[in-house]
């Protein structure tokens, strides 16, 4: 099976879906002539032309709304945000337009649109460029929120997102674009809303999403050297959330660590822990522990940034704690 980067996996998904359906177009800052701020859209302008690969001014609120309007009348826009940090300017169009139009119109206007771009921290970009937005987005009904952690998941989920007749927020990762993984040559789709058991064990469940799936797998590999075998449940989609996968794992291992990139209060982990206490109370042998970013804006200095971010060591420490090993 070919091994390709996460970036190329996304590029393949975009190309294949644009070839498949004339209604699909890509719009955003630097997507066309510049070939994408992170080169995800490389070559697409040359293949599909400027009506379908559209450079915009720096105007997130505006072009997010342009996408929603085009989707209401039958096109299938993919709106690229250079990062989700900038998409905050466009949140009104996601929250007040895209997520609500089907409901407010009594079922008449669905909005088949994908909002996508990198999410969360990279390296030393400091406070305004290092935020994980999945909990903000997952809070609202009327959208789906997808956070793939591997090239395989990225391609299969983006293709599903583009074909979905609902608004989908698709959160990528700057630090993931260069990561590599196996991606089949033949076409495949990954259903939105299905978690993936990326490691299997019986000692503890690590439940995670997005780029933290890599951290969880590294932690699992390290723990395995000490004979501790854990489940890694990669949610992949945080709205809708695969509650059955969480339950199945926790009922097997009786212990859980919830790992996420963002802040603690009202984070994704808050919801996961709620499902666990509600559905798995009698199965638990220890309180659930959460691993997340420190409750501060992201600092610039290398040492402080490292201290703020969730990582493998913090995850391993959490697993050992719920197993009462430390």
């Amino acid at each position: 099976m070919p091994v390709i980067t996460y970036r190329d996996a996304l590029n393949q998904a975009l190309r294949e879906e644009m070839q498949r359906d004339d209604r699909v177009f890509l719009m955003g800052e630097e997507v066309a002539v510049y070939q994408g701020a992170y080169k995800v859209s490389k070559g697409l302008l040359q293949e599909f032309g400027e009506m379908r690969v559209v450079d915009t001014p720096i105007t997130e609120l505006g072009f997010a709304g342009v996408g929603v309007g085009a989707a209401m009348v039958g096109l299938r826009p993919i709106i690229e945000f250079m990062t989700w940090n900038f998409a905050v300017l466009a949140l009104d169009q996601v929250l007040n337009s895209a997520s609500k139009l089907l409901y407010m119109s009594g079922g008449q206007y669905n909005v088949p649109i994908v909002f996508r771009g990198p999410n969360g921290a990279a390296l030393q970009l400091s406070a305004q460029h290092s935020q994980a937005f999945e909990s903000w987005l997952a809070y609202m009904p009327g959208v789906k929120v997808v956070t793939p952690g591997t090239p395989y998941d990225a391609k299969g989920l983006l293709k599903s997102a583009i074909r979905d007749d609902n608004p989908v927020c698709f959160l990528e990762g700057e630090m993931l674009y260069n990561t590599k993984g196996e991606v089949p040559e033949e076409e495949y789709l990954i259903p939105i809303g299905k978690a993936d058991l990326k490691r299997e064990g019986d000692a503890c469940s690590i439940i995670t999403n997005g780029k933290m799936a890599l951290v969880a797998m590294q932690a699992a590999d390290q723990l395995a050297k000490d004979g501790i075998h854990v489940d890694v449940v990669d949610l992949r989609t945080v709205r809708p959330m695969d509650v059955e996968a969480i339950k199945a794992s926790v009922e097997k291992t009786n212990r859980a660590v919830v790992l996420e990139e963002g802040w603690e209060l009202c984070g994704i982990g808050t919801q996961v822990v709620d499902y666990i206490q509600r559905d798995c109370f009698d199965y638990l042998d220890a309180p659930v522990i959460r691993v997340h970013q420190a409750d501060v804006p992201m600092p610039y200095a290398k040492n402080l940034e490292r201290a703020a971010k969730p990582d493998m060591a913090k995850t391993i420490a959490a697993v050992r704690k719920v197993m009462y090993l430390d």
Binding site: P57, V66, V68, G69, L75, G107, Q108, P112, G142
Partner: protein, 349 residues
Amino acid sequence: MAKKKADQPKSAADAASNPDLNRDLLHSMLLQRRFEERCAEAYALGKIGGFCHLYIGQEAVSTGTLSLLRPDDYVITTYRDHGQALARGITPRSVMAELFGRIDGCARGKGGSMHMFDKSLNFLGGHGIVGAHVPLATGVGFAIKYRGGDQVIICYMGESVVNTGAFHEALNMAGLWKLPVVYVIENNRYGMGTALERASAIHDIFERGASYNMPRAVCDGQDVFAVRQATQEAIDRARTDSLPTLLEVRTYRFMGHSMSDAVSGTYRPKSELDEYMKRDPIALLRAHMHENNEISDEDIQKMDEEIKAVCQDAWDFADKSPEPPLEALFEDVLVDTTSDATAEPVAAD
């Protein structure tokens, strides 16, 4: 999509000499007026809830502009949307049932006063966040151009919208990409209670179009013929040359901002209101038709009685329409379909 020949008069002069058309215009405006008078009554009785923004005084704008659109054109508007909904052809029954929060409403009771929708009429909704629907209109213009069609979209907004970022961003792209959008500013002088002069650094707000290299115009919003003439020019420009227009229509709201706002008082004196009410758009059209012997007092009386009966029928219908079933609470949050890529092929004309 087949191109349709627009069988509309080319100018206000044609319109002014067309008794049948004028009768239709009068009917449309009077329907909105009588309908909303009943809305105010229903609101006082608690049959309509939430926010309710009446359009009374501005009917020449909805009627004048929408009388020129083709069925395959698009309309999008603000939360002050009853007038345009009726003028576009959503039935009084359907609009009233929506206001009453009933299942037979044009949004099945999920939208209410501020969110009238009818996909069969390409009525893309009343929108409640000031300015937010303006980029949507630009997106519809983009889609028309993308498909190579010759439709247009009319986007209504109040004058306070021109100070939002969404307006600026949306009009810049429409000017940049040359999209077939007619942006109609219904300048009724007040954004809620804040006068235009207290909110905008320039007062001839159609001149904002200059920033976007956009054709622009201003017209009298109480004179339905003036509205039609200015709109026809904008529609022609959009349909033929795929160019946007910023059209400022100067009008006046005879009622408060919403039902909780007094008609006059804190932010506008009664004398100002009285002055504007001398230019009631319905009275002006009626006077014109009288002068030209196009309509008699009896005809007007008859039309009014018929319209009042239609409004009573709408009320009775809405009153009898069931509330949405509780199962509807969780319906229409998401659709459970995916694209099959062949549903709606993109083809130029």
